[in-house]
């Protein structure tokens, strides 16, 4: 009985101690004691883990980096290919826009027959204003044929080879075009210059010319068909003593960015020099 009592008592005491420890742990009183016991363990655990990860990385990370680098370079290639495709498509879109505009213009004037050509160069002579196009006599282009865009008159064919032609622009110093003022129904002459500026000359002094007047080809002289837009008057110079007044003219076309043109192939220029004896 004594033995039995002492065992029971021991069990009860052990249970009470365990419960007490658990209660102390829950209440937070044992935290410093637990910390002192656990900290070295956690540190060791952390050190082992770090060493393991370092070894793991040593064997696995280089492969991942190589893979990533390869993937990165593939993606970069793809991006650059897509970018070049975008540029190509934008280029095609812009070319298509130009061609659609030219087509609209050609449809609006069905009496003329056109050949569309791309501008492939510009004359290296800085004093003159010429463009080179990629169509020539093999395509039916001949000397003197007028060249236009949807915005107006560009010039005329000045020289032709089998596969290319040279256009003399309307602002070339050797260019002289007979024009008609749209609202005044008066005629004058438009001449170019070495700087590319155009001047309207031979305007009678009694004509009330205003800035903004639209100029069209008159058809006189036989070099160009009539009623093609040539430019717009910017300002007028008028002196009381002069018989004629002059005016500065802006072309409706920006020749520096011209990319495609239409050559009117059913119009042949007439050489009136034989008749005038010049």
């Amino acid at each position: 009985m004594r033995f039995k009592d002492s065992r029971t008592l021991r069990t009860i005491v052990t249970g009470l101690v365990i419960m007490g420890v658990i209660l102390l742990a829950f209440s937070g009183i044992l935290r410093p004691v637990l910390g002192a016991v656990m900290d070295p363990f956690v540190k060791v655990q952390g050190w082992i883990s770090n060493q393991f990860m370092a070894i793991y990385d040593f064997f696995t990370l280089p492969r991942d980096v190589t893979d990533l680098m390869a993937e990165n370079s593939e993606l970069k290639n793809e991006v650059s290919q897509l970018q070049s495709q975008i540029i190509e498509l934008q280029e095609q879109l812009s070319e298509a826009d130009i061609l659609y505009a030219l087509l609209d213009f050609a449809r609006a004037k069905p009496e003329n027959t056109y050949i569309a050509a791309s501008v492939i160069g510009r004359d290296s002579n800085p004093f003159m204003h010429y463009l080179i196009i990629d169509h020539g006599s093999d395509d039916g282009i001949r000397y003197g044929m007028p060249v236009v865009t949807q915005q107006g008159l560009v010039g005329k064919i000045d020289a032709v080879t089998a596969s290319a032609a040279r256009i003399q622009l309307i602002n070339d110093p050797d260019s002289s075009i007979n024009v008609r003022m749209q609202s005044l129904d008066e005629e004058a002459q438009l001449v170019g210059s070495i700087t590319g500026d155009m001047q309207l000359t031979m305007i009678p002094s009694d004509v009330e010319l205003q800035a903004g007047e639209i100029l069209l080809t008159s058809g006189l002289g036989g070099n160009y068909p009539s009623d093609i837009v040539v430019g717009q008057v910017v300002n007028v110079q008028k002196k009381e003593s002069d018989i004629f007044q002059t005016a500065n003219v802006d072309s409706t076309i920006d020749f520096s960015t011209l990319r495609a043109v239409l050559v009117i192939i059913n119009f042949s220029a007439i050489d009136i020099e034989l008749l005038t004896g010049e």
Binding site: F127, I132, P173
Partner: protein, 166 residues
């Protein structure tokens, strides 16, 4: 070898001149990279067959451009001969020679062009032409001459080393 390389360079530069450089004017001026190529090519003391690229360049530009035929040949040969004469005196300063010849050759070329076009019947005012076209062209030619000098000199190094090795 030097004939082949100089001819290829003339073809490339002519193509670039017509399709790119002519479309990049500053003011009303325009660079002539074919002229610059000839000047830099002739600056090399060993470029004794300079007349071949000069003839080729003259022939191509004459064929394409509106400039009167003799004017192109005269201006290119004048630049080439001027360069050959000057390198005997200023052979230690090729860059300085190039600048001097670029300025002189551009002026000479434009004066020849203006006179030739006036003979042809074009109304080119002399003073206005020099002021509006030539001065900016000289400026652009000077700018273009440095990269062209580097490119052509590299090509010549390769060509004339090959010849020496042979």
């Amino acid at each position: 070898m030097d004939i082949v390389v100089s001819s290829v360079l003339v073809l490339i530069f002519t193509s670039l001149q017509l399709s790119v450089v002519s479309r990049l004017p500053i003011g009303n001026g325009m660079a002539d990279i074919v002229l610059l190529l000839l000047i830099v090519w002739c600056l090399h003391p060993q470029a004794k067959k300079f007349y071949i690229p000069t003839l080729l360049a003259g022939w191509i530009i004459t064929f394409i451009s509106s400039v009167p035929i003799p004017a192109v040949f005269i201006s290119y040969f004048l630049a080439a001969i001027l360069t050959r004469l000057l390198i005997n005196r200023l052979w230690e300063m090729p860059l300085f020679s190039m600048l001097i010849i670029t300025i002189a050759a551009t002026f000479a070329q434009h004066i020849i062009y203006i006179i030739a076009m006036q003979f042809q019947g074009s109304a080119i005012p002399f003073i206005e032409g020099l002021r509006e076209i030539t001065l900016p062209s000289v400026f652009i030619n000077i700018i273009f001459s440095f990269p062209i000098y580097l490119i052509v000199r590299d090509a010549q190094k390769f060509v004339y080393q090959e010849i020496e090795n042979e």
